[in-house]
């Protein structure tokens, strides 16, 4: 298969970027999207040109490092998929594919398709932790967790922090990410000690980082590769209101 790729190229955070068009040939339909970019980069290296910078790590859809805006959709045209798990067979032979980095003020472009997502780290530092006793491992069944809570907590813990929610949201809001973390920890007994401060501090940091405000469009839910739903955002809002009222 062959494709025309319109790729965002930007030398560094300070300089202006622009789209550069490349042609790639001999792409197998079984390749992943990132493997196609690997082929492009090999070609560019052989030609003596600068390869396209893009973030990737596990390539198994579990680390949240990769993330590209492909043909107007976060992580490409499929739902429930990370960029590394997107395969070429979902594109038409000869198609023009536009590849852009996540666009958000809180996610500045470092180079080409790589963005700085450390804003997420700072949100987690603000409240995405629990207090535990250090020392010997506790008894596994010492803290009982209702099955329903365990399931819901696990569903939200599936968030890999890829930033697709921010990328897809028309307001570049990070609330789905924050709500996944808040839900995950507040549903479990281990998360109870910091329950109120967590939600207040994480929302405060989210606002300070320059993310937009949620307008409930639901785009984040559709694009989330891990299926985090708007129910977790509703839970965050309830947690937040409770923390505010109880002070």
């Amino acid at each position: 298969m062959k494709f025309t790729l319109k790729v965002w190229r930007q030398k560094n955070a300070q300089e202006q970027g622009s789209f550069v068009t490349y042609e790639v040939f001999g792409i197998s339909e079984d390749m992943s999207f990132l493997e196609m970019l690997d082929v492009l980069n090999e070609d560019l290296t052989l030609k003596g040109e600068e390869p396209v910078a893009f973030a990737h790590d596990c390539r198994e859809g579990i680390c949240g490092t990769c993330g590209l805006f492909i043909n107007g959709r976060a992580h490409g045209p499929l739902t429930g998929t990370t960029t590394c798990q997107l395969h070429i067979r979902h594109f038409k032979d000869g198609e023009t594919i536009t590849i852009e980095p996540w666009r958000a003020k809180a996610f500045p472009v470092i180079k080409d398709l790589v963005v700085d997502r450390s804003a997420f780290d700072r949100i987690l530092q603000a409240g995405g932790f629990v207090s535990v006793n250090v020392g010997s491992a506790p008894e596994a069944n010492g803290i009982l967790v209702p099955k329903k809570n365990a399931d819901e907590a696990f569903d939200t813990a599936a968030c890999i922090g890829c930033g697709a929610c921010v990328a897809a949201c028309k307001n570049a809001s990070a609330i789905l990410f924050v709500s996944a973390k808040v839900s995950h920890l507040s549903l479990l007994p281990q998360g109870k000690p910091e329950r109120r401060t967590r939600v207040l501090n994480m929302v405060k940091t989210m606002d300070e980082e320059g993310f937009g405000n949620c307008t409930n469009t639901g785009a984040c839910e559709v694009e989330c590769p891990k299926g985090i739903t708007l129910a977790s955002i509703a839970r965050l809002r309830r947690e937040y209101c409770k923390a505010k009222i109880k002070g």
Binding site: K105, T197, G212, N216
Partner: protein, 251 residues
């Protein structure tokens, strides 16, 4: 000591406004405005009573003179202003959150048009609100342009341009409500696997009823004017024919 510090930090944080509390304000004011629409429509439907506008004029006189309505009006104004200013503030913040937009963005594949364009539908409603207040509230209560509110309604809705303007703007009120009603529940954290799908459906139904309910008034008054004209022209046509016969008979 640490506990006291922690409590102090929580209290300090609790006093600050955030993106979540702003949405709570948007939601509560929006829901109050929905309630206002219901009351407003209920009163307006008196226009259909075939009593020459007596019931509607009595209703509008009560609305103009009652002190309870004055107090509610102040709250209504405050809620409108909060909703509008908060929306402007959030829209500016949201635009700033993405300084560089996407070259290709297929937003329609992951969200509805109504949800993505609340600021535009809201902006149209604001323009409509200004014209609407001028047409009826200001022109009647302050400038006394018409002998009664019923006369004001009849006069304004005889102008086809006003009728067209109202039809277009009312449809945008409906667009705003299609997303607004369900969104306000979500903003308050009220989400339930069974109730939320119903809230969404009822939100769309509410939007449709508000649109059709308010739409019925300008359309009714415009076409009743036309039908009155038709009746008048039919009568004059009949008279001409009768006169023609009389002239023919006398000759």
């Amino acid at each position: 000591m640490q506990n006291a510090e922690k409590k102090c930090a929580v209290k300090k944080c609790a006093m600050e406004k955030s993106s979540v509390t702003e949405k709570v304000f948007m939601s509560l004011t929006g829901l109050f405005l929905c309630l206002f629409l219901v009351v407003h429509l209920g009163g307006n439907l008196l226009l259909f009573k075939q009593d020459g506008g007596a019931a509607f004029n009595a209703y509008s006189h009560f609305m103009e003179t009652s002190w309870i309505i004055r107090v509610i009006e102040i709250f209504l104004l405050l809620f409108f202003l909060t909703h509008i200013f908060m929306a402007i503030k959030l829209t500016i913040k949201n635009k700033q959150a993405r300084p560089v937009s996407y070259a290709v963005n297929k937003a329609s594949e992951n969200s509805s048009w109504f949800s993505r364009n609340m600021e535009i539908t809201g902006g149209v409603i604001f323009i409509f609100l200004c014209v609407h207040l001028y047409n009826f509230m200001f022109s009647q209560r302050f400038f006394h342009h018409y002998p009664s509110m019923y006369a004001a309604v009849r006069t304004v809705f005889q102008n086809p341009w006003y009728v067209l303007f109202y039809v277009i703007c009312l449809s945008w009120v409906g667009f705003h409500l299609i997303h607004g009603v369900q969104s306000s529940f979500q903003s308050l954290g009220l989400r339930h696997p069974i109730f939320t799908p119903w809230i969404k459906k009822l939100g769309v139904l509410f939007a449709a009823l508000i649109f059709l309910g308010f739409l019925s008034l300008p359309v009714y008054f415009f076409f009743s004017r036309t039908s009155r004209r038709n009746v008048q022209s039919a009568i004059s046509h009949q008279l001409k024919i009768e006169n023609g016969f009389k002239r023919g008979a006398s000759q």
